[in-house]
């Protein structure tokens, strides 16, 4: 009977888009890390906790994508009261283990980020990506031909780094915290813009003179906006959306709209239609 659960659990990993590349599942109720299929070689972004005793239960997720899921072969409706409370205790324990592991991962990433940031040299605007985008280097550095953009929280603590290659390929420091972290360009005066990417932020700052926070992706716009609203309660926050018209649901505008609503900010969307129809 116990052999059945690991197979089911593996299926759940696959369904969640976090299949295990290799290795056996260890059902000992302790948090384990593994390499997700398709992730960088040597990385261990996936994590899981699995119990296969009388009350089977599992939890899993990815540090990279921020996913966190639970798994159980039976639904809560078919459980007895005692089973349900045992399950709740296990979920809480798995969460604690995950949080502890995440804290350890973040701490390690923070230290690596600090070491790499100190090693990197200030960028000077001649990097191919900056030239192509037509923006200067604002507070970013250069390390092994890659631009290094710092991710800091509202207190200025460095948490992670984004690396941008000459071809525009962007990667983050494995395990680093991103949520609520941003890269600040300029000092806020009356209005503060929040956008997704570095080149966009640099362009906005260059064109408007308004301080700009780079949130790195659409999902992080709202956490960054909330953090900045707490820090600057009187400023006008402008959420500068990416207008992803070709992607179903326009995730750029949708996320920016949600962020603007959450903090009482304003939404600015670049429009390209008028340019071609004059």
């Amino acid at each position: 009977m116990t052999a059945f659960y690991p197979d089911d659990f593996r299926k759940a990993l696959v369904l969640a888009g976090l299949p295990m590349l290799k290795g056996e599942l260890v059902a000992d109720g302790v948090l384990h890390r593994y390499q997700v299929e398709g992730d960088k070689s040597g990385s261990k972004n996936g994590w899981y906790v699995l119990h296969t005793d009388a009350q089977p239960f599992g939890a899993f997720g990815s540090w990279k994508t921020g996913q966190s899921e639970t798994w159980s072969p039976s639904s809560a409706e078919t459980m007895t009261e005692a089973e349900r409370s045992a399950m709740a205790a296990r979920i809480a324990a798995a969460k604690l283990a995950r949080d502890a592991e995440q804290a350890a991962v973040h701490t390690s990433a923070r230290q690596r980020a600090q070491a790499l940031w100190e090693k990197a040299k200030p960028a000077d605007g001649t990097h191919a990506y900056l030239v192509r985008k037509g923006v200067p280097a604002y507070g970013i550095k250069l390390l092994r031909q890659q631009l290094v953009v710092p991710l800091r929280d509202v207190d200025g603590t460095l948490h992670s780094l984004q690396f941008i290659g000459a071809d525009g390929r962007k990667t983050f420091l494995t395990g680093g915290r991103k949520r609520g972290c941003y890269h600040a360009i300029g000092r806020p005066a009356a209005a503060l813009c929040i956008c997704e990417g570095y080149a966009t932020g640099a362009t906005i700052y260059q064109a408007t003179g308004n301080a700009t926070a780079v949130a790195f992706d659409a999902g992080n716009l709202q956490p960054v906006a909330k953090a900045l609203r707490q820090k600057f309660p009187r400023l006008t926050l402008v959420i500068a959306a990416d207008n992803d018209t070709e992607t179903p649901g326009n995730p750029g505008v949708t996320a920016a709209h949600a962020a603007a609503r959450a903090v009482g900010g304003v939404l600015a969307v670049p429009k390209f239609g008028e340019v071609a129809h004059v």
Binding site: A189, A240, N243, A268
Partner: protein, 536 residues
Amino acid sequence: MSELSDFNDLARVAGGGAVAATIGAAIATHQAPHGNATARDAEVRQIGENWPDPILPGKVPVPEIPVDVLPTWVKDMAGAVAQSTQTPPALAVMVALSVLATCLHRRFEVAPWGEDDDYTEPLSLWTLTALPSGSRKTAVIGAMAAPLVHWEKLERDRLRPEIARNHAARLVAKKRIEKLTKDAVNAENDQDRERIRKLIEEEESNMPADIRAPRLFTGDVTAERLQALLVEHAERMAVLSDEAGIFLIMAGMYSGGMASLDVFLQGHAGMPMRVDRADRCAHVDRPALTFGLALQPGVLADVASSRRFRDSGLLARFLFAMPDSNVGQRDVRRRWSIPSYVQKEYEARLHGLLDGRQLVASKPRVLGLTEPAREAWLDFADEIEKQQGERGAMESIADWSSKLPGAAARIAALLELAESGPSAESVSLEATEKAVKLCRLLIDHAHAAFGLLGADATDTDATAIVKWAQDGAHLSFSRRQCQKAMEGRFRSVERLEKALERLAQSDVARIDKVPNKGAPPTTMIRMNPKLFVEKG
């Protein structure tokens, strides 16, 4: 369009001005009126009464361009068209100049130092008038260019039999070459093949050159088609249009900012151009390209601060007119039609200028400036030169103003040829003085255009200071405070000082030195309070 999504893309296709406008508009909609705004406004308004109205950077007041800078018959027509359409005379004047250039470019050149000198200017002219939508630009271009359309039709009709003969002869020759080629392939021996090959050679060399009905101008056109038109129509072509297409192509807006600009640059300068794109390869010795564009100011704003466009030198080649629009002030109950005698005279004189125009390009005739005309032209060139240096009135548009004396010589020659006819020997003082007068008026228009284009760096800086002051309600601040707040933009005090000086010159701000005991004085800036009062 999928590659266009964020503000960086917007800046690349439409310039930083478009980014600033979008973000600024978003902020403006957000700033809800405060409870005590009225009281505060009243207070500010009271202080503001001692200030003149500010002229915001880029909003330079421009002088009217009167029709009397044109030769008699062109002046009559331009004046009548401006009156009939109730448009600013500047539009008709600029279109008229482009129409004259369309008739005369490539056939004549002007040599300011005398016809024997090797410095010559072709007579191609690039004019651009900015007027908002609905201001009857199409009607003005239509009226001024109507004789050209009529001339093209007359020529087409006159040449029709000849073109038909030529077409038939070429068709027969081509078919015969096709047949001979097949025969050569199937020839029984080398002797026969050689004989047929010689026949093919003979046929090809005897084939008459292609004849086309002449075209003087085109409307909306691509850079590639323009190149082909130059090849097909004796190395000269004009674009008279109120469509933004060609201007946006020049700005690289349809090609990620990487438009092929050679055809435009060479067409203005008359430099040799190799063409391998039309239906045949050709070497165009002296291409002549004229523009007469009438566009909406929004189009200029769209290409605002596109460094690539400015750096290519194309913007510097345009003579800009930025007249105040008449929209909203026109008398809808009045109707002035263009007198038919004015129209007839204009058409007859234009057709007179086109007399002797050959289907095949030949060496242009060079007109020198008379001695007094040359002196007047040199005085003007000297006056411009002295204003282009550091802190000079034309420093920020030096790329444009350095071409102005050349443009003045071109315009003088066009005016002379229009007044005296194609047999004119040299450019008179009168024509040169009119050209210089016009060019002087165009300087303020160029300042306004480059301000709108966001291409004047000092204006852009000055605008940013105004915006910062308005956003943060800074009616008064120190230079240091301003530099610290905008340190990304003002890394040097010199740059900030230039922008502040510009603001002071246009009554947007006043600069005071406040003495400090035992320390250097503090530079304080007071903004014009009128900038902080809601309109209406």
